[in-house]
């Protein structure tokens, strides 16, 4: 689980330009602080699909709240 979270954090920093110093595993990704948008959510879906083989297309937005919730969804749904 930690490995999944670290890979996600690395992706947010390198591909989505998020400042790692304010990004914790429970930080709200789409709130005021990080401020991701719907274009970023498509990039997250693509990264999770390519990296972990888990499809997040059409899943509830609660699963995208933080690195914690995305990692939990991946753990629950990976083959």
């Amino acid at each position: 689980m930690e490995e999944v979270k670290n890979k996600l954090k690395e992706f947010f920093m390198s591909d989505l330009g998020v400042d790692g110093s304010v990004l914790n595993f429970d930080t709200a990704l789409f709130g005021d602080e990080i401020g991701l948008d719907s274009v970023d959510s498509l990039e997250i879906i693509s990264f999770v699909d390519d990296t972990f083989g888990v499809s997040m297309t059409g899943v509830d937005k609660e699963n995208f709240q933080s690195i914690d919730t995305i990692a939990a969804f991946i753990e629950k749904n990976k083959a």
Binding site: E43, S46, D50, T57
Partner: protein
């Protein structure tokens, strides 16, 4: 690897003059990469205003040329074209290293870097006479046509 002339290109993309910005495809590997040509002519309408007496091809139209070549690389299922449209989602790190002027022949190369699922990404390089004039990355997604305007 295959090639395409203007007639074959027009069968695959919806854009038409004066907004058709790839005239020949010299190399095409479906879903992977392509090299295409755009000849830049002084008669193109945008040169009237960009700029009067000093024609320079607008950078956004160089990006559009790259985008049209990318759309030729993405393989569509025929049934998808009825209800889906591939649209530009993101432009990253584009640099316009040297101006493009009438008489230049753009040799554009695009290579797919990610996707196949919800998004498709490409690295694009634009050269004239072998010299780099522009480069950057483009990302596309598909949307349902019936979602437009809603």
């Amino acid at each position: 690897m295959s090639t395409m002339n203007i007639y074959e290109i027009s069968e695959r993309i919806a854009q038409r003059p004066p907004f058709q910005m790839i005239e020949k495809v010299t190399e095409l590997v479906p879903n992977e990469s392509a090299t295409g040509i755009k000849n830049v002519c002084v008669n193109e309408p945008y040169f009237m205003g960009h700029f009067p007496g000093t024609p320079i091809m607008p950078g956004v139209l160089i990006v559009e040329s790259c985008a049209q070549l990318c759309s030729l690389v993405i393989e569509h299922k025929p049934e998808d074209l009825d209800d889906k449209l591939y649209v530009l989602l993101k432009i990253d790190g584009f640099k316009f290293v040297k101006p493009v002027i009438p008489g230049d022949q753009l040799e554009i190369t695009v290579n797919k870097t990610k996707g196949g699922g919800v998004i498709v990404g490409f690295d694009c390089v634009v050269k004239v006479n072998g010299n780099l004039h522009a480069k950057g990355s483009l990302t596309f997604t598909s949307i349902p046509k019936d979602s437009l305007g809603k």
